[in-house]
């Protein structure tokens, strides 16, 4: 039965996508968890809604329009946080609700029923195309190369911003860069897991890894393992149980989280 399923190209694409996103999201998610940016990643994923609505209205590629709007919202959040002196969550709340409101407004202007928009809202890993796979691959490779190259400054800033500054690190540049990376990773993962649940694939494997890891190296290794296991096992279970793939993947990752909690205790 398993070999029969694996022979279907759409299952092969789904498996490949779940492995790639299972590595990419937790890798970036470690920074989200360590920097306590969960609300930010949630806000970015929901802000992509405005991009999807705008893309549908203008007749352009929805993935592209969602990335453009998510990156724009990321820059707005970073800029307002720096310039207004308001707390980070307040700024995120303002940008987030503004993007959702704009998305709803644009959606109201659309005529007819758009099934492709719902793929972004709830995710559909089985509907992944070869083009989507290529996009995740290239974005993923670029993201991981950037993060590995700048891992030392990113981790120094995560540890203590003042000490990083004294080391000559441009904290402002790396803050903006991290905001952009999270925005891009969230939006390319939307089609797989959906806007509502994408943050969980960023946060949950990283949080599970943090429960067990005694070093930074282990944190990165464990989180990627948990991400891949959640993706592949969740996909297999969703096929076997005939359930939606996105929520099944998320529930498997939360199951792993509770197991790591027991181990931690």
């Amino acid at each position: 039965m398993i070999s029969e399923f694996i022979s279907y190209p759409f299952i092969q694409r789904a498996l490949l996508a779940s492995v790639m996103v299972g590595i990419l999201c937790p890798f970036v998610g470690n920074f989200v968890v360590l920097r306590r940016m969960s609300f930010y990643s949630d806000a970015i994923s929901h802000s992509a809604f405005a991009g999807i609505a705008a893309g549908a209205l203008l007749g352009i590629d929805l993935s592209l329009s969602s990335i453009i709007v998510a990156v724009f919202i990321a820059v707005v959040i970073a800029f307002l946080s720096e310039k207004t002196g308001l707390s980070h969550d307040t700024v995120i709340g303002i940008a987030f609700s503004g993007a959702i409101a704009a998305g709803m407004l644009v959606m109201g202007m659309l005529k007819g029923y758009r099934t492709d928009m719902f793929t972004f809202l709830f995710g559909d890993i089985l509907a992944i195309t070869e083009r989507d796979i290529l996009m995740i691959f290239f974005v993923g490779m670029l993201t991981i190369i950037i993060l590995l190259t700048f891992l030392k400054p990113f981790l120094q800033i995560t540890f203590n911003r003042d000490l990083a500054r004294v080391e000559g690190i441009s904290v402002r540049f790396f803050e903006y860069l991290l905001f952009l990376i999270i925005a891009v990773v969230v939006t390319v993962s939307l089609k797989i897991i959906g806007m509502i649940l994408v943050t969980s694939l960023l946060i949950v494997p990283a949080a599970s890894a943090k429960n067990l890891a005694s070093s930074m190296k282990r944190l990165f290794v464990y989180s990627c393992i948990f991400g891949v296991v959640s993706g592949v096992l969740g996909l297999a279970m969703s096929i076997y149980l005939d359930t939606s793939s996105g929520p099944t993947i998320v529930l498997v990752s939360i199951g792993i989280f509770f197991l790591t909690m027991i181990k931690r205790e």
Binding site: L34, L148, T149, F150, L151, K152, P153, L155, Q156, T158, F159, N160, D162, L163, R165, V166, E167, G168, I169, K210, A213, S214, S215, M216, K217, R218, L219, F220
Partner: protein
């Protein structure tokens, strides 16, 4: 040679001067202590010098070169008063030091020739070799301060800024810490700028003292500068000067 030159430094917040027209210089290889009551602007001064907070007017130069926003070839080390970090972060002591090791833009976690020895050597200098594999969040106050000194000297800095580095550490730990700073000053020729509340530390370890209360009150050798009058003007009538009998620890 003058290691640090600060001229007319003013820091303002909400139209109020936090520090005003501070001018001083520190000669290379010297330890200078900055003292003053709570709220005198000691931490503000160090943070402004390091470019961590903006200053209204004034200039800072290190070894004759302008020093602004840490864009300088001259490396400095810094140990803050209260190190704020997430104590649950899964980060070992050797990883923390490894992230600070040059080159900055290189993939960590890879075993590089000499890096391990360099980290072990640093931990050995600060007497923390047993802590290499320990999680940074599990260290005691004294252990953390020794590791932070190791982190501050990773890049072989010329000047070390210490903002009440031994606060919250027991008496024995404080003494070990200050002895370590003195040893680094002697062996590596490090220039040290040290904020301290403890006049005993100032007398024993500092070559010069700078007294401030938003403005500069006095500067010079501790035994000449810290008169009863100066100390009372800073800390109130209940305080007075005394000279410690033993000047240095070997």
């Amino acid at each position: 040679m003058i290691a640090l030159q600060v001229d007319n430094l003013c820091v303002k917040a909400d139209n109020r001067h936090l520090i005003e027209n501070i001018t001083f210089s520190v000669e290379e290889g010297r330890i200078i202590a900055i003292i003053g009551p709570n709220g005198a602007g000691k931490t503000t001064l160090i943070k402004a010098v390091l470019g961590l907070i903006p200053y209204e007017t004034g200039t800072v130069s290190l070894f004759g070169q302008p020093f602004k926003n840490n864009h300088s070839d001259i490396k400095v080390g810094y140990v803050p008063q209260r190190l704020e970090f997430d104590r649950t972060i899964p980060l070992t002591v050797s990883e923390l030091l490894g992230f600070t090791l040059p080159p900055l833009y290189s993939v960590p976690f890879l075993k590089k020739k000499g890096a391990r020895e360099h980290i072990d050597g640093l931990l050995n200098i600060v007497g923390a070799q047993a802590l290499a594999r320990r999680s940074i969040g599990s260290l005691s106050g004294g252990e953390l301060q020794r590791v932070m000194i190791a982190k501050a000297i990773v890049n072989d800095p010329k000047v070390l800024f210490l903002d009440e580095p031994a606060s919250g550490v027991d008496i024995e730990g404080q003494e070990r810490f200050h002895d370590l700073v003195k040893r680094l000053n002697r062996e590596k020729g490090l220039t040290v700028i040290l904020i301290s509340h403890d006049l005993n530390v100032v007398y024993r370890y500092a070559d010069n003292v700078l007294c401030m209360n938003r403005k500069l009150i006095c500067k010079g050798r501790p035994e000449e500068t810290l008169t009863d009058e100066v100390i009372k003007s800073m800390y109130g009538e209940m305080m007075g000067a005394y000279t410690h009998s033993c000047h240095e620890h070997d």
